[in-house]
Amino acid sequence: MAEGIWFVAEQRDGELRKVSYEVASTARRLADEAGTSVAGILVGASQDVAAKLAAYGADKLFVVDDEKVRDYLPVPYTQIIAKIVKEGAPAALIMSASTQGKDLASRLAARLGVGLAMDLVALSLNDDKKIVAKRPIYAGKVFADVLPAGDPQMFTTRPNVMSVIEPDESKKAEVVSVALDLDEKAFATKVAEILKDTSGKIELTEADIIVSGGRGMKGPENYHIIEELAAVLGAAVGASRSAVDAGWRPHTDQVGQTGKVVSPNMYIACGISGAIQHLAGMSSSKVIVAVNKDAEAPIFQKADYGIVADLFEAVPVMTREFKKVMAE
């Protein structure tokens, strides 16, 4: 009988990424409701690092601490995690819908032959103690409640949406070391190089605050206005598709249906009309602020706060005022 809510943590250079705490917390909340236990799986980091997850609700932790898998490799990660999951037989497996989480979960679900609900924003237990997930589809124009079948049911949670529980440092977990032990064939793909992003830019999908500019920016030379606001707020800078297609900003800055999906605490949209495809990328934002001189712009339907104003006048004032606030 499949039992237990498990999670797969994510590490980078041997340290836990924030999404690890999100999936551990999600697993713990569900397990408490279902009256069962939580175990976590961590590949590529040490037992000491894994043990940090005890404070976030893990009762048991499986750790694969091997140099060969320090960096993410789809096949070895899939195979070793599948092995651990088959032996432990949990009822559910929670992963992050981070870049790594999404394709790892997909390959893993196929290997295990189970259903996978991807990039969900909410989870709940139904009367049969099965987990139902709510996820956006058609770029968030509608949402689907889905029920993955199989043991375990698999899920990936949208980053920055599931809250992290208050850690309890007094909690301890049983930490089990698992040997890698895979066929050499599993390593047909190797990491040749890692090109670190040295620009100091804050990653959009992980930013707490994003300031984004669209067609209303009128040209690449004007983005310094929002970059200054972003600097004061410690925010990342995004762009709409119009700005990217016009060549004003790189497509790695694009937020939207064919760009990045972000879920910051605050999203400030400057000169962005709010087309459905853009909303698809930022509708999970907790607070949406819009600055646009067109009172009819659709963005105002979704914004929590809006000002109908010329961004070239408004944004520098906002920068000045936020500077004062931050100094308090």
């Binding site: 990039d119 790695t252 944004v315």
Partner: protein, 257 residues
Amino acid sequence: MEIVACIKQVPDTETQIKVAGDGKSIDSGDIKWIMNPYCEFGVEESLRFKEKFGGTVTVVSLGPARVVESLRTALAMGADKAIHIETATTELDALTTAQLIAAALKDVSPNVIFCGQRAVDNDQAQVGAALAEVLDIPHVALVNKAVVSEDQSTIRVERPVEGQTMVYESTLPILLTTQKGLNEPRYASLPGIMKAKKKPMDKKDPAALGVEMGSRLEVLAITPPPQRAAGKIVPGETVEEMAVELVRLIHEEAKVV
């Protein structure tokens, strides 16, 4: 080189999505169908590989009769042959889709398979990795650069992740999922469109492919997006006033900063 591009036909992103009467599917009347934008990058990259190394480009798609149009578009772009797996719907679960494609490709020994990183209708991003697992070949997702070695024995790909770019090197065969930035897909030319009509369109009956139809992801309900509480337009006589008040609200009311 044997190259395969898997494509999905999806509703145009401008389409108004309406929930069907049963409350758990989409009303498919009035939809303009297009090739999934991410799949286009796969077709284009396939054609570039063929231009460089010679060989054949096969495109595959699963779905009802209407998907033939997207397959013809790929043929018009320059693909050599198409395989249409005739299923009633494009919304089979990811593993079933992968198994059907794998079975349909039984007589093709691809060196490289391209899949769009996700479909813009169900936004699942699952089929590519699932297909690689079913075929027991390596995969790298979200590549924006792919270079095959001159002797065609290895491939070097780049995949941007949070804060860095991973560069992987792999033996072939391999499956890659494609994202924006990989290339600029070409438009089908008029001669291309004419030639496409004569290119092979192989029909596959799913029953004959020996794949059990799974239902690993049940849709219980489709609902409109969660309503956000109504927002406020910040008042003010001047832009200065509005902006000052806006910051005050964000700080004191929303307490974000």
